[in-house]
Every structure is written in structure tokens, then in C-alpha cells.
């Protein structure tokens, strides 16, 4: 099955700063997804990232706060901008691989202090 490498695995950041999370897929995929998982909660979709077009954001998430890049079919980044403690979460990228379903990256545990 496909592998998604995500980094950093964790970070502690000062409020007001930004963090960029990277995901690298070992094969080409059309669509990638970014999720947020707050402590003890389920996963919430932030946005869908297609190569060559603007990301599509879900209700409650905006591009200024969570800019996404998708420069090619194997790579995507999510930036968490102007961070506050409420942004402390696990951020996960995922990609769809045919009938195998969705594979997830290892996650980034973000703590904002």
C-alpha cells in the first residue's frame, strides 16, 4: 500500500507564529485531504487539495488561516498561520488510493503556547 510521510511529527510553537506541515506521498495521487483532530475528538476535514487548483475549504476554515499548497501530484503543505492555543491539535494529511481507501500520514502534534 502507499506511504505518506508527514513532518514535523510534533512541534511546540509560540502564539502568533506560523507552522508549515509537509506531506510527501510515494506515488501520484489526484486528491489530498487535510484533517484536524483535537484532543480526544474525532477528525474534522479542513480542506481538499487538488494539484493545479485552489484548495477547497470546509465551513469554519479559511485560506488566510490555513493556506495549502499542492505543487505536484506527490506533495502538499498546510500552514497554520498566526497560531493561538486553540490551534493545538493533531493535523493529518491523507490521500485516496483507488479501492484501497484513504491512507493517512503519521500526523503532526501541534502545541501552541
Amino acid at each position: 500500500s502507499a506511504v505518506i510521510s508527514q513532518k514535523p511529527s510534533r512541534d511546540i510553537c509560540q502564539r502568533g507564529t506560523s507552522l508549515t506541515i509537509q506531506c510527501q506521498v510515494d506515488s501520484q495521487v489526484t486528491m489530498m485531504f487535510w484533517y484536524r483532530q483535537q484532543p480526544g475528538q474525532s477528525l474534522t476535514l479542513i480542506a481538499t487539495a487538488n494539484q493545479g487548483s485552489e484548495a477547497t475549504y470546509e465551513s469554519g476554515f479559511v485560506i488566510d488561516k490555513f493556506p495549502i499548497s499542492r505543487p505536484n501530484l506527490t506533495f502538499s503543505t498546510l500552514t497554520v498561520s498566526n497560531m493561538s492555543p486553540e490551534d493545538s491539535s493533531i493535523y493529518l494529511c491523507s490521500a485516496l488510493f483507488g479501492d484501497y481507501g484513504y491512507t493517512f500520514g503519521s500526523g503532526t502534534r501541534l502545541t501552541v503556547v
Binding site: F33, S42, L43, L96, Y100, Y102, F104, R109
Partner: protein
């Protein structure tokens, strides 16, 4: 708006016992997934269910899908401690590539 509910939210069970986790969803869907998440880890894909009546089994876990009832079940047979984890179902939005996660079921198997 698609809503996905799982029950129970928490489950503590003895080794060797059987139990079923339920995943109910509110609108039509054409695919459903089950995932496992260990503490501090990412999600591991368990089952992909793509049609009404689909049943898949792997070891002590068996998943089924009833699209007419909008219900999927994850059945645990003769539980062992290693099955302790949080289990999520995720339901695909028909006509899109998006999927909505259930609330999760935190399973603890007691020795």
C-alpha cells in the same frame, strides 16, 4: 448535512468476550471505511465497504454494511488486549471524494 454517529463512545470489555460497535449515518452514501487509531498514532485502515450487504473479516474483526438502514457494524469476536484502541467509521459523501468521520469508539479490553 451528513452526520455520522457511533455507539458506544466508550467500551470496556473482558478478554474473550464479543461485542459490536455501531455506525449510523444520516444520508445516502456509497462507501464506508473503518479505521483504528492507537494513542498518539495516526489512523490505520481496517476495512473498505463499497456496497450494500458487504461483509469483510480480518482476524477477530468483522465489518458489515447495510446501506438501506444506513448502518455499519464492527463486530469483535473473542476480544484480546491488543485490540484496545479507538475505532472510527468514516462515511463517504455520495458524488464527492469527501468523507465524514464518526465520533469514534474508545475500546479497552481488560485482561
Amino acid at each position: 448535512e451528513l452526520k455520522v454517529e457511533q455507539n458506544p463512545l466508550f467500551l470496556s470489555m473482558q478478554e474473550g468476550k464479543n461485542y459490536t460497535i455501531y455506525c449510523n449515518y444520516s444520508t445516502t452514501s456509497d462507501r464506508l471505511y473503518w479505521y483504528r487509531q492507537d494513542p498518539g498514532k495516526s489512523l490505520e485502515s481496517l476495512f473498505v465497504l463499497l456496497s450494500n450487504g458487504a461483509v469483510k473479516q480480518e482476524g477477530r474483526l468483522m465489518a458489515s454494511l447495510d446501506t438501506k438502514a444506513r448502518l455499519s457494524t464492527l463486530h469483535i469476536t473473542a476480544a484480546v488486549h491488543d485490540l484496545s484502541a479507538t475505532y472510527f467509521c468514516a462515511v463517504g459523501l455520495t458524488g464527492t471524494y469527501k468523507y465524514i468521520f464518526g465520533t469514534g469508539t474508545r475500546l479497552k479490553v481488560l485482561a
